[in-house]
């Protein structure tokens, strides 16, 4: 059976050969016998029989190649031969491997992060059909609880909708107080997600009976392990959160960490319950937007249908309630705090992915020119192979095998290094006080992409010599001996490749310079306060059980006693520091407004509550008017300090002092001071209106104590810790210097700068190796010519000029093109990196100098070689 034989053939090519030989042998013997019978001599009979077959080897090869089953065998042979070839030229192999490891490794790292943050769904049993319901305008993703209840009960397109928010609390044990982060979730949360508890039970919708009716906790697996030593009898015990008792009813499975990709909470609590006295007030306030809605679509319902459905409900609600004036719905992929980080993360990662891809492309062009040079050097070998009967396709397949083998090997090593880096990234917690980290370890998708990239890049640079092979005239090549005399005058494919590569590299180098400059500027931008020399002590007085009237005395004591610490020059308190993670905004109305719906507002403003002395401690300049005093309390008239933007947008050029405004509570506030503008949410924001209220007129339990001192933080901290510990030992404080606390807002810029820096560095390395390889090759190919020229009296400088003019010309034109592209592309960067502008003389100079230095470094050794031409020795060798 020939099918059977084909299978056997897969294992053995030689068996097929034997069979063909045996068949031919039988034929030859029969012919000989007949020839002898026709009276030929045995010698002659044999010759005649054989000659009729022509070239038997070629025929046998043709027959073997026809056997489809032997293709696999041939592939194996190609690979073995490729491996032998690569081992014979270790310099080429090493260069190519390093280039590929960098190129593919960079792509694997970036793709893993992209995969983890953008592509991967939530880590829940059935992630399909889960969407966050946010407002139409981007960046405004929080909803109010009453709106949630209405959306949930009135929609016809979702199987269920859950609400959740993320907040912090103090967790007190017998020995210590800890700051912990938790989700407050609606009762149906776990049931909707389909998660099963590891211990005990989860709470359900049936556990909710109005505010403070379900004092239950579900611990995260990690929290259970860290604080309770994985105690199997934990269910049923009571723990204190902000000194309020809660009963542990269950433990979540180890893989479940809530509904955000990068947050790792300590526990979950029903949203109807709260460890703060005022913590459940928002449940009835329609204008209080402070939670996220997560919905699961009914099977067969499209996101568009669901959006239309919710918008119809929103319009109905807007007619009913003035607070819902602006209500609208949009569905977004869940996992990035609604979609708060969705857009920036997506555009940033897409940008970086593009850059990484450009790096790989540059690496491929680099390898392509190396490989083309190598093929030219091997033209004699290739010509011989063609002459003895190998087809051009065979030769091409052979070269392609070398390229793909190298690429896959480089890809595997690159992936290995990336995995190490990614595992470190997964363990990395960028912010000490927030439970933020992202699982970026590669999954099968990443490995698949790595393999695909490896094979594709191998194909890309392996196919470059295709023209060379097809153009090879074996007779010609063997006569004149290699590619030595192939035209060096005209521009070749290699030159083009090098030009493209240098352009790409300059683009990347420029981009990283732009980012670095932007970062440097953003660190020196006016913030509206002076973070240097300030230590922050953050806490929430609720965590110590303080509320209402007991809050002020505690704060006053803190300010007085901390102010007495030697070396402290000023102290102040603010509820949430600007450029922190909190921060709220409110609608401001002109006096005389009757209809308090959002569309009637005068301006939207950030608002903060501050103590007397805060402005001084923060270094915020008071431009006009006065600071607050302790007499601005609950009993005295409401006052406020506003910033310049607020004053200008409300009152134009008229003085704001003494003017009044209202908020949604319809109470008038008098402006007693004007301060400088500042940054409140992010470094890149446009100027915002801001208003400051006295702490006592706008009570808030969040407390950030600012301690300004010329001493380094380390010298202040022990005394500060001791002093605050004496006031209330149960209050958990988070201490950090203010510049450190700004790490959160600087994080995107820092990450962007670091990433672009690495990309730029990779690009620079590729540019150096590319130019170096090209120049070195050009010099080595023309050594003989140089020898002759030197012998007839050419000066070394002339030789160097003719050897290096081509690479230098390419370097110049490529750099110019890349610089131009970089300037254009940098507009995109400006969205991530604050104040990134390519029209900065320093950036342009930096890029130009870098490329010049790279060019110098890359051509130094080849130039030396050209200078040291020794005519007599060279001519003898040839």
């Amino acid at each position: 059976m020939h099918i059977f034989r084909r299978i056997v053939n897969t294992c053995s090519r030689s068996k097929l050969h034997q069979e063909i030989d045996a068949e031919i042998q039988a034929h030859v013997e029969m012919r000989m016998a007949d020839n002898i019978a026709a009276r030929m001599s045995p010698e002659e009979a044999r010759r005649d029989a054989l000659i009729r077959f022509g070239n038997r080897t070629v025929m046998r090869e043709r027959m073997t190649a026809m056997d489809a089953a032997t293709a696999f065998d041939a592939f194996g042979r190609d690979l073995r031969y490729a491996a032998r070839q690569l081992r014979r030229s270790p310099a080429f192999t090493a260069t190519a491997l390093v280039t590929l490891i960098l190129g593919i490794g960079a792509n694997v790292v970036v793709f893993s992060v992209l995969n983890a943050l953008v592509l991967r769904p939530l880590d829940v049993p059935q992630p399909t059909g889960l969407y966050n319901v946010v407002h139409k305008s981007p960046g405004d993703d929080n909803q109010s609880y009453p709106d949630y209840v209405d959306f949930r009960s009135k929609n016809s397109t979702f199987t269920d909708m859950a609400a959740y928010r993320f907040q912090s609390a103090g967790f007190t044990t017998r020995d210590a107080a800890y700051l912990c982060w938790y989700y407050r979730v609606s009762g149906n949360y776990f049931d909707m997600l389909g998660v099963q508890p590891a211990q005990g039970r989860f709470f359900h919708a049936s556990d909710e009976h109005g505010p403070n009716s379900a004092p239950y906790l579900v611990l995260s697996h990690d929290f259970w392990r860290r604080h309770f030593d994985s105690d199997p009898k934990i269910v049923g015990t009571t723990v204190d959160i902000n000194k309020h008792p809660f009963t542990v009813i269950g433990v979540a499975p180890v893989t479940f960490h809530g509904t955000d990709l990068f947050l790792w909470p300590d526990f979950w609590m029903p949203i109807v319950d709260s460890p703060d006295d005022e913590g459940t007030n928002f449940l009835s306030i329609r204008g209080m937007h402070n939670l996220w809605i997560l919905g699961k679509l009914k099977p067969g319902v499209t996101p568009q249908q669901a959006t239309d459905n919710l918008n119809a409900i929103a319009r109905e609600l807007a007619r009913q309630y003035p607070e819902d004036d602006y209500l609208s719905a949009r569905l977004v992929k869940p996992g990035l705090m609604g979609d708060m980080f969705g857009d920036p993360a997506r555009s940033f990662l897409a940008g970086i992915m593009l850059l990484a891809f450009l790096v790989l492309l540059a690496a491929c062009t680099n390898l392509a020119s190396l490989f083309a040079a190598r093929t030219a050097d091997r033209s004699r070998e290739l010509a011989i192979r063609l002459a003895i009967g190998s087809s051009r396709w065979d030769v091409l397949r052979q070269l392609l095998s070398e390229a793909v083998l190298l690429s896959v090997l480089g890809g595997a090593l690159g992936t290995l290094f990336s995995t190490t880096l990614l595992n470190a990234l997964t363990r990395w917690q960028p912010f000490r006080e927030y439970p933020v980290h992202v699982t970026v370890s590669p999954d099968p998708k990443v490995y698949f992409v790595a393999l695909l990239l490896s094979i594709c890049s191998g194909m890309v640079w392996g196919l470059v010599p295709i023209r060379q092979i097809w153009a090879t005239d074996s007779v010609q090549v063997m006569k004149i001996g290699g590619a030595g005399t192939l035209a060096f005058r005209r521009f070749t494919l290699r030159d083009l490749l090098l030009g493209v590569q240098i352009t790409l590299c300059t683009l990347l180098v420029t981009a990283s310079f732009v980012a670095l400059r932007g970062m440097q500027r953003s660190l020196h931008a006016p913030l509206g306060f002076q973070p240097q020399g300030v230590v922050l002590a953050d806490t929430d007085l609720h965590m110590g059980g303080h509320s209402g009237a007991s809050v002020t005395p505690v704060r006053k004591r803190m300010l007085e006693e901390v102010g007495r610490i030697p070396g402290v020059t000023s102290v102040g308190i603010i509820d949430e520091t600007p450029l922190g993670t909190g921060g709220s905004s409110t609608y401001i109305y002109r006096m005389g407004t009757i209809d308090f719906r959002p569309s009637n507002m005068a301006v939207g403003a950030k608002y903060f509550s501050i103590s007397p002395g805060y402005l001084h401690a923060a270094g915020t300049q008071l431009l006009k008017g006065r600071d607050f005093t302790w007499h601005d309390d609950a009993k005295s008239p409401k006052v406020a300090i506003v910033n310049e933007t607020f004053a200008r947008s409300m009152f134009g050029s008229a003085s704001a002092l003494g003017q009044e405004f209202m908020m949604g509570d319809k109470i008038s506030h008098e402006i007693v001071g004007v301060v400088e503008n500042g940054k409140y949410d992010s470094l890149t924001e446009a100027p915002w209106a801001a208003v400051f209220f006295p702490l006592e007129q706008n009570p808030d339990s969040d407390t950030s104590l600012l301690v300004r001192s010329p001493l380094p933080p380390a010298e202040i901290l022990p005394e500060l810790r001791r002093t605050l510990g004496q006031i209330d030992p149960s209050l958990p404080f988070v201490f950090h210097s203010w510049p450190d606390a700004l790490a959160f807002v600087q994080f995107p810029a820092r990450i962007a700068t670091a990433t672009l820096g690495v990309m730029g560095l990779l690009a620079a390395m590729l540019a150096v190796t590319g130019v170096f390889g090209m120049a070195m090759y050009a010099v080595s190919k023309r050594m003989r010519e140089f020898g002759i020229r030197a012998a007839v009296g050419a000066q070394p400088v002339q030789l160097m000029g003719s050897a290096l003019s081509r690479p230098l010309l390419l370097l110049l034109s490529g750099s110019a093109a890349g610089l131009l592209l970089g300037v254009i592309a940098s507009r995109l960067l400006a969205q991530i990196v604050y104040q990134a502008t390519p029209r900065d003389p320093l950036v342009l100079a930096g890029a130009v100098i870098t490329m010049a230095l790279l060019g110098l470094a890359a051509t130094w050794i080849p130039a030396q070689r050209a200078l040291r031409v020794h005519p007599a020795r060279l001519l003898r060798e040839e």
């Binding site: 020939h2 063909i20 068949e23 039988a26 034929h27 029969m30 009729r52 043709r62 027959m63």
Partner: protein, 108 residues
């Protein structure tokens, strides 16, 4: 006009030979074609064996090792049903070719 090339002609000769004589080895095919065509056609060994191999891969013929009358081991080929059908096609298209060529030769 399907497959009226020379290779098609060699296939036709081999298939027809096998259909007439049943079972034959490569050398036998060469001899038969030579004899049956009154020495007008001779098949080159260098083309015959690749052609046999290809036809076998296509499933038109089957092979088997057997002992010849003179006690040699040789590979014998026989037609498969698929080969029978292919032979009919090849004969038809050869008739077309001959008709076409003849028409051109007689064109005055």
């Amino acid at each position: 006009m399907a497959r009226n090339d020379l290779q098609g002609t060699l296939d036709l000769l081999v298939l027809k030979t096998l259909s007439q004589l049943g079972e034959l080895h490569g050398y036998g095919i060469v001899l038969h074609i030579q004899r049956a065509s009154d020495e007008l056609l001779s098949v080159e060994e260098g083309s015959l064996y690749p052609a046999l191999h290809r036809m076998e891969m296509s499933g038109w013929i089957r092979s088997e090792w057997k002992v010849t009358d003179t006690n040699r081991k040789a590979k014998y080929y026989r037609l498969t049903p698929a080969g029978q059908k292919e032979l009919q096609n090849a004969e038809k298209s050869f008739e077309h070719l001959v008709k076409g060529v003849r028409a051109i030769l007689r064109y005055a």
